[in-house]
Amino acid sequence: MPLRNMPLQKKLMTIMLLTSGTVLLLTCAGFCAYEILTFRHTTAQQLSTVARIVATNSTAVLAFDDQRGAGEILSALKAEPNIVAAGLYGANGELFAFYPESLPRGKFPAAPGEEGFRFEKSYLSGFQTVAQGSRRLGTLYVRSDLRAIAERVRLYFTVAGLVAGVAFLTAFFLSKTLQRQISDPILSLAGTAHAISERRDYSVRARKEGGAEVGHLTDAFNHMLNHIQDQLTRMELLNRITSAIGERQDLPSIFQVMVRTLEDSFSVDFGCVCLYETLPERLLVMSVGVKSGTIALEKGMALPIDQNGLSRCIKGHLVYEPDISRVDFPFPRRLAAGGLGSLVLSPLLVEGKVFGVLIVGRKQAEGFSSLDCEFVRQLSDHSALAANQANLHTALQQAYDDLQQSQQTILQQERLRALGQMASGIAHDINNAISPVSLYTESLLDNEPDLSPRARNYLQTISNAIEDVAATVSRMREFYRQHEAQMMLAPVDLNRALQQVIDLTRARWHDIPQQRGIVIRILLELSSAPALVAGVEGEIREAFTNLFLNAFDAMPEGGTLTLRTRIRPGGRVQAEVIDTGIGMDEETRRRCLEPFYTTKGERGTGLGLAMVYGVAQRHNADVELESAPGSGTTMRLVFPAPAFAQGEDRPVLRIAPPTPLRLLVVDDDPLLLKSLNDILTGEGHDVTVANGGQPGIDAFTAAFAAGKPFDAVISDLGMPYVDGRKVATAIKSVSPSTPVILLTGWGQRLLSEGDIPPNVDLLLSKPPKIGQLREALAKHFPPKAGKGP
């Protein structure tokens, strides 16, 4: 196995054993080499010493030629087993004595050689001069066997091998024990790392074993784990906040969640979100943490942007103020006064534009690490995105709602237009139908002074009812008509109008509830003086009727309806309709004046209060509304002060009966024709009637040709075949100076559209009123005294 792939322990062992083994081998080799070298030297030295001793001892035997003695001296060399041969040469160079005696002479050098010792193959041999004093007496030859050296060397190698073996074993056991010092901490570290990666539990910490590098490594590792755990915690927090934010779709709750979570889980002492406004440039505090509010800021506060971190943050930079007590700007100083030490300002960016700022602070200075800052930045990014999405969502929802509303409105308007057209037709017929009633009633009231008071009262009620019918019919058109251009404002007594509406709606508040055992009390608190306003009485009655009906609807279990009028100081006149019903919640209060908004389900059209509002607007009156769920509703109409003085009598137009005239009345409705004939004849005029357009033209032409022309022509507008326009044209072509007055069931509409047909001098709406007719005729034929009948 290559060393680098080995497990740590094995690797360490291998390295240590390799090292110690190599050192041992080298030491042994050195030791052996040294021993061999020194041993050769020592051997040579020893041999030389022995040779010198022997030589010294041999002087006498040589000097006195004692061969026996020489033999004895040499045989003493037995004590040195290495010395295998020795010989003494006399001064003449002859071999004098030798050792061992068993050795043949031929084994010795024939003659002594040079002094000194030499190594030969397996021997060390040499010559030593024998001298007494300065006298040379002979030469000694000695030969030593090197087998002894070889033996020594072998011994050395054996010993060295044994020592090396023992040393190696010792090194093995030592390294096995000692390598733990290194490997154990590393393995423990590796084990921890493995456990962490397996279990993903970053709260585990490595146990520190010893100091130095491994200790530092453990510290660094643990430090890294701290970082990872911190980061994980932050990520988790970020995740939590992001998903919490994701569940919310409005800015305030997104920011509130963000700030709250930061306070709870990120241990900030201050957290707030401000929205950036450009005109004027300032920050509006949108959301403040629970703990934070007491520190420095409150929701809704506006912060000016000074030249500090805020302005840098507005430019899109994350700003960290590690010690705000040293920053001399109003905003940081304010926060510092609240006890904060450090501050992070993070911009909320959408598509590169700052729309807000997240501000977090801690009480201690240097309270945020770079990781903290990074976290805040990421959180800002996420929440900015969420906020943007919430905005988009809201806008989308708004657009959707608007679209739905528009669709609803268009649908309603379409329905209304159809209804309006139908209503127009009906109105025309009704106007035609009630015209005789109106004319006769008016005529009776006007011209019959002998009527009993009772009859007069009844007739007056009939007259009012007819007037209201006419008004109602004309109101019907308002559903699809925006605007009544010409409004005849007249003094209207609100007190009288209220009284009349009470009478008219009696069935709704008295008869119907009573059948179910429910009692609705009517309480009148009217001003003592007539509450006069300038207005259209019919419209005002209509408005009151709607208010009454709503009030009754709000009191299904019965209650009290209070009607109150008052002339405010300054002349404004107010009328209040107060019920003790169920009241309105805020949503209803806010929307009740919108057209088509109803709380009555299919029962309601949603037009009642809208109409009241329309009436109020046309009269420059304000609608005031006080209501709360369960505590009834007060509707208040406040009219402007009238141009005329309060309490002034209603100006009554009394027109004297006009000069008797020859009149041609053209209509396709015999009943109307008859009633007009009766009324106008009653006025003293000479009336000729023509049933239809063409007969009318014929009658006029005939009379004109006969030299007895009509003074004026009164014609219906809408007639089959030849309508009022054609009649007017024909008459004008014959006699341009003869006035033509058109009566119309569509009258108000034509008037408001300015659609007075050519050749028509005056357009009057049905039902015609006697007064109006008188006025119209008087306009063309001013009463002249003395003009003949």
Binding site: N57, T59, G69, L137
Partner: protein, 179 residues
């Protein structure tokens, strides 16, 4: 020197030769022995009166050496002193010699001479029977055709001579009053 060694070697060879060689040859070896003794014996300081005194090898009585002594000593030095060979008639004259050959003409004369030389720093050498017993220091004897020697250690000590152990190891030690 080499010449001397050659001579000695030659004499040794000669001695190992056939019996009945010329007596003169025997004395040639003995002359070499006399000279060689100078190498293995130390004399007391009193042996020389002056530093420049030569080393004297003397012959008392009849001279058996002929010119051998002169041949051996020629050009040689002992302890830095030149060797001089002298011949004496009377023992009393021979006090200044360091090695003295005492010829054994007869027992009585020899004993007389030795008595005179007793206690004097002179190494007396002779080959007469009983020479060492009678007070001579070294007696040369023929043994198996070889010249060996006997040493009277007491006499040597009395004369203040110190004889090398190496020399002693080759010699027979003679106790006084015996053979």
């Amino acid at each position: 020197m080499n010449r001397l060694l050659c001579m000695l070697a030659a004499s040794v060879l000669a001695l190992g030769g056939p019996a009945g060689a010329a007596p003169a040859k025997e004395y040639q070896v003995k002359a070499a022995f006399l000279f060689n003794f100078a190498q293995f014996v130390e004399w007391p300081k009193t042996a020389f009166s002056r530093p420049e005194d030569p080393f004297v090898i003397g012959v008392l009585g009849p001279d058996p050496f002929g010119s051998y002594l002169e041949d051996v000593a020629h050009g040689e030095k002992v302890g830095g002193r030149k060797i001089v060979v002298k011949r004496y008639g009377k023992a009393a004259d021979a006090f200044g010699s360091q090695i003295l050959w005492v010829a054994g003409k007869d027992m009585a004369t020899m004993m007389q001479d030795l008595a005179v030389l007793r206690n004097k720093p002179v190494l007396t050498v002779g080959d007469a029977d009983g020479f060492a017993v009678e007070g001579g220091v070294i007696r040369l004897v023929m043994k198996q055709n070889k010249i060996r020697f006997r040493i009277n250690v007491e006499a040597a000590q009395a004369s203040g001579l110190s004889i090398s152990a190496k020399l002693l190891s080759l010699a027979d030690i003679v106790a006084p009053g015996k053979g």
